[in-house]
């Protein structure tokens, strides 16, 4: 009961700002509406008992990626873009594609029986379990991640500084 109430509140917290994100005429408001959506997703992770992922979601998405987006908005158009039309002429196409995809996916979901496990409890201390997984089973993922980070750092610096 309580779980369902929390789930409903969080769903609204995710979906309503998400609608603002994709429809607002003001790009800064779009970017700021991203924050409640991301925090709602954090709430989902908590309900799913993925505590560490929840913390990281706030730290990276809300604390870093949103800030990066806001920076770029302020460094490019900022408020100057407020008068400019923000949407292109593809609205009918966009609506069709989104609704059709949603319909298709929901249809598929409703017809599939997932192999839901009846037993097993999530690890109580998820950071510990994740650390163990990274250091043993997923060690290759872990090391390659650092390469991905390195490449994206180098690439982004090259792209952003090109003309100096």
């Amino acid at each position: 009961m309580g779980e369902f109430a929390a789930f409903t509140i969080l769903s609204l917290l995710i979906l309503i700002p998400a609608v603002v994100v994709v429809t607002s005429k003001n790009i800064v408001r779009s970017a700021l509406s991203l924050v409640p959506t991301l925090l709602g997703v954090t709430g989902f992770y908590v309900l799913l008992q993925a505590e560490f992922v929840a913390g990281i979601q706030v730290l990276i998405y809300a604390g870093a990626i949103t800030v990066l987006l806001l920076f770029v908005i302020m460094l490019t158009e900022g408020g100057a873009g407020l008068q400019v039309r923000q949407v292109n002429e593809q609205i009918p196409l966009g609506v069709t594609a989104a609704v059709w995809l949603a319909f298709l996916l929901l249809l598929v979901f409703s017809r599939t029986t997932w192999p839901v496990a009846q037993r097993g409890n999530p690890p109580a201390y998820s950071a510990l379990a994740i650390g163990n997984a990274f250091m043993t089973d997923y060690v290759l993922v872990f090391e390659v991640t650092s390469l991905v980070l390195l490449v994206s750092l180098v690439g982004a610096i090259i792209i952003a500084r090109r003309e100096e």
């Binding site: 994709v22 970017a31 998405y61 993922v141």
Partner: protein, 103 residues
């Protein structure tokens, strides 16, 4: 009422389609990136939800989610670097006006 896997899948589907709509209809490159972030978040909800309901004792889904978050950060960094670069050479970040391949 119990919250099951299906509930999470429905919400993540809706979020994904909202993101898709944003990507298809926005002119502003930064707004398109925001749409992509929404879609990645929807994917992440699925990863963690499947982990919880299909294999609750493991953390593989959490690990994938972390990797996706990492990739989202890298994608945002590179994508926004491209936006900055386009803005500096073409004075616009509206993707329908960036239509020349070489300046």
């Amino acid at each position: 009422m119990q919250v099951g896997l299906g509930h999470y899948l429905v919400i993540s589907t809706l979020l994904f389609c909202l993101g898709l709509y944003g990507v298809l209809t926005r002119r502003n490159a930064v707004a398109i990136l925001m749409g992509i972030e929404l879609m990645l978040n929807a994917g992440n909800i699925n990863l963690v939800a499947f982990n919880r309901y299909v294999a609750p004792a493991t953390v593989s889904g959490h690990v994938f989610a972390l990797v996706v978050i990492t990739l989202a950060a890298c994608e945002a960094a590179i994508g926004l670097a491209l936006v900055m670069s386009a803005y500096r050479s073409l004075e616009t970040i509206h993707v329908d006006e960036i239509n020349v391949m070489k300046w």
